[in-house]
């Protein structure tokens, strides 16, 4: 019961923090910016290159389509949005430990489980939503610019949700790291190293299909949930649950002073 009460109280607290500390705004910009900028950048790229390369025509070398625009968005999501998400949420737990803001609530009977789950729920839900929104914006905007080709809108939405799920996994790992260290930047660095080095593990065929990062390469904008993605999707959910549980386990043994 205490965990439920703490969860409800902290959901409200995290929403207030997300708004007043501009975390929601930064996260939204970090994801949605590319949804707007990628299609138009792709459209303008041949012109930009032409002006830089003394009139050479690159339009034949660059694929100008809705599919290419969505692929470009996906690439930027992995490379840049990860950075924005991790850096803006790096203090999710370690800052509370460093600032000792959990000392009073814990002494008043707050449940650690409730606190951690509230944080993951609020930011996880927001990340999921902005990824779905980002994908739908990218889909429509690129469709308007390049014309709607064979991609399905529902598949695009599902893809956005899958990307969102990947970022929730990143968030759970960030929380896990934060539970071990008070320095936010250290937790962020370790998380970014994991995310950016994970594709290297894909060279081992045996584990490739289980890696969360595989979600990005298995995405198919024509199919709602490709079969080839199921293993990495389940594995991502499993790892998210494991890291969240480990975060709670570790924090319940932390001295909040």
């Amino acid at each position: 019961m205490n965990a439920v009460n703490t969860y409800k109280a902290y959901v409200k607290k995290e929403i207030i923090e997300g708004m007043r500390a501009r975390k929601f705004l930064v996260l939204a910009i970090g994801v949605l910016f590319f949804a707007f900028s990628d299609p138009i950048m792709l459209k303008l790229l041949p012109e930009i290159l032409k002006s830089q390369m003394q009139g050479a025509d690159f339009s034949m070398l660059i694929e100008l389509s809705q599919k290419a625009a969505l692929e470009s968005y996906t690439k930027n999501l992995f490379q840049l949005s990860t950075l924005v998400i991790v850096l803006s949420l790096m203090g999710i737990i370690s800052k509370e430990r460093d600032d000792k803001t959990l000392t009073v609530p814990v002494s008043m009977g707050s449940s650690i489980k409730g606190v951690v789950l509230a944080k993951l729920s609020v930011y996880g839900t927001f990340i999921l939503l902005i990824n779905v929104l980002g994908m739908s914006i990218a889909y429509y905007y690129s469709g308007i610019i390049f014309g709607f080709t064979h991609e399905s809108f529902v598949a695009a939405l599902a893809t956005g949700a899958v990307y969102g799920l990947f970022f929730v996994f990143v968030l759970s790992f960030l929380s896990f790291c934060s539970s071990f260290m008070k320095k936010s930047f250290l937790a962020a660095t370790i998380t970014l190293m994991l995310v950016y080095l994970m594709p290297l593990a894909g060279y081992f065929e045996a584990i490739e299909k289980y890696l969360p990062v595989n979600l990005f390469s298995e995405v198919n904008l024509s199919v709602i949930l490709p079969k080839s993605m199921i293993a990495s999707l389940l594995c991502t959910i499993f790892l998210t649950v494991i890291f969240s549980a480990l975060t709670v386990f570790k924090l319940e043994r932390v001295e909040f002073v």
Binding site: T101, T103, S107, M108, E252, V257
Partner: protein, 304 residues
């Protein structure tokens, strides 16, 4: 209410608490004194369930505080030395957070929040971001949080340190009001004047152990200096006090201008007789005082 038995706590290789024994009775205000770094906050944090300990036993309301996994369920109010709050929240929102954690209804939370803010005189600043509060205001909010659940036991760690005289007075008044409500208060401070004003008993922590535990009144009696300082309305000389040297309980007399200091044995038994003898001399008296050691002097004597 609180029973601490042979409590030990190590930080790395350094043993901070070396077998602390304390008993705090229900309804009393217990002053916990010690040098900076003596282990007062460590003891407080252990009682609040925030940190673990290596050996011994801590019982609060009969419940064993075994380790931090068995944290207390909000039935003890705790004010840390420097309470930290979410700076973007205001006092109302923070108290609502505390009330929600306890699972109270919106109506209950609203009523209690208003009452608490009034008690700690923060009503006017209730809607201001906590980040803009002074240290004194944060301390008062900390007290409001600590008493929010109406706990029987309060752990107050240096509640008036780093406050200006007005802030200190406010905090001491709040503690006195809580004492009147019958709360049991375990108060750690190095401002000994506050202890003298509100505490019933005092424990002195030195070198990781309790070296003295006594009621304030008994402590003052034990450490009282048996010296009467008398001031007369006019200059006096040693001749006028010759007859006072006759009783065997008078040890020494010092006369200086209008003032006389008289050292005696066992002031409780002989004090009244001495005062009568002084009055018989027939010189108008302006003041007569039994010299007292301040708690600060007693503390310094004990720890040295």
């Amino acid at each position: 209410m609180i029973r601490i038995e042979n409590l030990t706590k190590n930080y790395g290789g350094h043993q901070v608490l070396k077998g602390v024994n304390i008993e705090v009775r229900e309804g009393e205000v217990y002053g916990f004194i010690g040098h900076n770094g003596a282990g007062k906050s460590t003891t407080m944090n252990i009682l609040a369930g925030l940190i673990g300990f290596e050996g011994g036993r801590c019982l609060i309301n009969g419940k064993d505080v075994q380790n931090i996994i068995n944290r207390l369920n909000g039935d003890v109010g705790y004010l840390p030395e420097d309470p930290k709050f979410y700076p973007y929240m205001n006092a109302v929102e923070y108290l609502e957070l505390i009330g929600s954690i306890k699972g109270e209804s919106k109506k209950q939370i609203s009523e209690k929040t208003e009452k608490m803010l009034d008690l700690v005189k923060l009503t006017k600043a209730a809607k201001r971001a906590i980040g803009s509060y002074s240290r004194g205001m944060r301390q008062r909010l900390g007290i409001a949080v600590a008493i929010y659940n109406d706990p029987k036991l309060l752990l107050l760690d240096e509640p008036s340190s780093a406050l200006d005289p007005e802030g200190r007075r406010d905090v001491v008044e709040i503690i006195s009001a809580l004492k009147d409500q019958g709360k049991t208060i375990f108060l750690s401070t190095h401002i000994l004047n506050d202890i003298e004003r509100v505490c019933d008993r005092v424990g002195i922590l030195n070198n990781g152990q309790i070296v003295l535990e006594e009621s304030i009144s008994q402590l003052m009696k034990n450490y009282i200096q048996p010296v009467y300082d008398i001031e007369f309305d006019g200059t006096v000389n040693e001749e006028q006090f010759k007859r006072l040297e006759q009783p065997e309980y008078v040890e020494k007399i010092k006369v200086e201008d209008r003032k006389v200091n008289i050292w005696i044995k066992d002031f409780e038994q002989n004090g009244i007789e001495l005062v009568k003898l002084v009055a018989d001399i027939g010189i108008p008296i302006i003041s007569i005082n039994l010299r007292r050691n301040s708690l600060e002097e007693i503390f310094l004597k004990v720890v040295s």
